[in-house]
Amino acid sequence: MGSCSSHAARIPDVDSIQRETGFSQASLLRLYHRFRALDRNKKGYLSRVDLQEIGALAVNPLGDRIIDSFFPDGSLQLDFPGFVRVLAHFRPVDVEDHGNRDPQEPEPLNSRMNKLRFAFQLYDLDRDGKISRHEMLQVLRLMVGVQVTEEQLESIADRTVQEADEDGDGAVSFLEFTKSLEKMNIEQKMSIRILK
């Protein structure tokens, strides 16, 4: 009859995933259940189509870009560790982390820098480390659809790039991006709390 039993021990490599992402066992269990629920054909991995079928994601103007961030480097299959790795960027920042973090260890996935990096790559399609005016225009076009004219959009894109661009190369690098957002409470705005 297909019991949907899920136990932390059933999740493959649960310890390494926990270390890498910082999610608690309870949260991982919930995410694993969600992963299995999205995997409608029980393939064991997710494809683009599985994510596209989420109605609320399909109506999000940046839906496709968000889905792309789960499939880096042209991969077609998303396994559970990959799924959780991306979601880990949105884990709320633990205040205790900063105190006793070993400086030798890599930065946690949900650090401020990594959250900013995630947002940056939604703009930077070709992954060249800079948001060109063209890329800015593309994202704007996604967010407004057909509601705004080309001229208005171009002027908005121009203004935005000009304001953030400090070294005058006509594009926004990652450092310029972080500088323009240094006052933003990224930790709160890019965090999703999983209920216990």
């Binding site: 309870a26 994202v139 659809g145 057909v146 509601q147």
Partner: protein, 456 residues
């Protein structure tokens, strides 16, 4: 050879006696009350006993999990993430405010930080969205001794396993044959009864008999599923010339409603057993059956329904406007067809208690026969039916608004989540028009400001 004969006849006579006893018991305790519409209260007692056993079973599992120092998987029906119910505009304004060192000035059109809103919203829907979870069976908070609902299989002690085994024995070897026998009786009585009534000349006597044959057979089917139904507000029951709409969870909804009222059914003509039942039923009283080709023609459907509704001597129509089975935690978009006809609408809310047996038909997972077998091997089907006061379409609202109003009333009464999503999302992708709405909202924010600037 000769030694076997007395044994043979002994076995045969024993068999005969037990069958007769069983049949008499069946007749007295189940079929006779069904005919007269009374109840001995056996099912309610059964329900109470089961509840006590389930609570005990869950406690044992929790204890087992604690001993191993693990977490028991507890499902959340309200979603697994914390969400703030703010609008697009509010959120983006707040994001901008938190990042801007200047005083809040409205001349800012677009900010690099605006993307955070869409990004986070998108991630939230990936972690937990309102629709995906409506098309699989509702998860239970405590275990009901059925392996199909067990998420914590490894915490079962020996005692629980024995209890579960006993449950399997009772359900498969005692309840299942009993229920199949009852179902068989119910359906054959329906077919035979309605055919016989069909031969009578039209008149009050025929109507009277037809009503009671229908009711009796549906009541037997209700007992075949061990359905324990509580009806509320029966004074609001649908009358002739009206349309009864209800939320749809399974094909059993029809049996549940029709065992308490006399309705005209609407549906497609099927082949096989269903077709036989349909043809027999229509002899006794006018149901509305459509050929497969006619179903596509919306005008034809609307026309026939309107004709039926305008004839006050005809029975109220029973319709499920969601168009597909939803898992009884929410109500999805109602199709506007039945709300355009202009008849009085009698909303009915049906809420199942999944503890005793989940009635949701996951048609992508199970076929009809597997589904019925699962139904008949559950403990019971427990549900509440609320008859809501009748509603009519008001002058200023169109069919869609009327449909949404009725849907909200049903959702509120049944304690279900009211969703605007189309149940057709089970099989199809969402339309692009919804994305345009989001884009419109955002554009107003960034271009609306621009217009203000150019004006000043």
């Amino acid at each position: 050879m000769f030694l076997l004969l007395p044994f043979d006849s002994l076995i045969v006579s024993l068999l005969g006696i037990s069958l007769t006893v069983l049949f008499t018991l069946l007749l007295v305790f189940i079929i006779a009350p069904a005919i007269f519409g009374v109840s001995f209260g056996i099912r309610k007692l059964y329900m109470k006993t089961l509840l006590k056993i389930f609570a005990w079973a869950t406690l044992r599992m929790e204890r087992g999990a604690k001993e191993k120092n693990h977490q028991l998987y507890k499902p959340y029906t309200n979603g697994i993430i914390a969400k703030d119910p703010t609008s697009l505009e509010e959120e983006i304004k707040e994001i901008r405010r938190s990042g801007s060192s200047k005083a809040l000035d409205n001349t800012r059109e677009f900010e690099l930080s605006d993307i955070f809103y869409f990004c986070r919203k998108g991630m939230e829907t990936i972690m937990d969205d309102e629709v995906t979870k409506r098309f699989s069976a509702e998860e239970l908070e405590s275990w009901n001794l059925l392996s199909r609902t067990n998420y914590n299989f490894q915490y079962i002690s020996l005692r629980l396993t024995v209890l579960w085994g006993l449950g399997v024995l009772i359900r498969y070897c005692f309840l299942l044959p009993l229920r199949i026998a009852l179902a068989f009786t119910g359906i054959s009585l329906l077919v035979v009864g309605t055919t016989v009534v069909g031969y009578l000349p039209n008149g009050r006597f025929k109507e009277f008999l037809s009503k009671h044959v229908h009711l009796m057979c549906y009541r037997i089917c209700v007992r075949a599923l061990t359905a324990i139904i509580t009806y509320h507000d029966r004074k609001n029951r649908p009358r002739n010339g009206g349309i009864c709409v209800a939320n749809h969870t399974s094909p059993i909804d029809v049996i549940i409603l029709a065992s308490d009222g006399y309705y005209a059914m609407v549906g497609q003509v099927h082949g096989g057993l269903m077709g036989v039942i349909q043809r027999a039923m229509v002899k006794a009283c006018p149901h509305v059956w459509f050929e497969r080709s006619e179903v596509k023609d919306r005008h034809l459907v609307a026309k026939r329904l309107t004709e039926h509704v305008q004839d006050k001597s005809k029975l109220p129509i029973l319709i499920f406007p969601e168009g597909t089975c939803i898992n009884n935690t929410s109500v999805m978009m109602f199709k506007k067809g039945s709300f355009e006809i202009g008849a009085t609408v009698y909303p009915v809310a049906i809420k199942y208690d999944p503890q005793f047996g989940d009635a949701f038909w996951n048609s992508s997972k199970y076929g009809m026969v597997t589904y019925l077998l699962r139904m008949m091997t559950s403990w019971a089907i427990v549900c509440s039916v609320w008859y809501l006061p009748p509603m009519t379409r008001e002058a200023e609202e169109d069919a869609v608004q009327f449909a949404n109003r009725v849907k909200s009333a049903i959702a509120r009464q049944g304690g279900l989540v009211d969703l605007l999503w189309d149940g057709g999302l089970k099989r199809e992708k969402v339309k692009d028009t919804f994305k345009e709405e989001q884009q419109k909202l955002y554009s107003k924010m960034i271009v609306g400001n621009h217009e203000d600037r150019s004006r000043s």
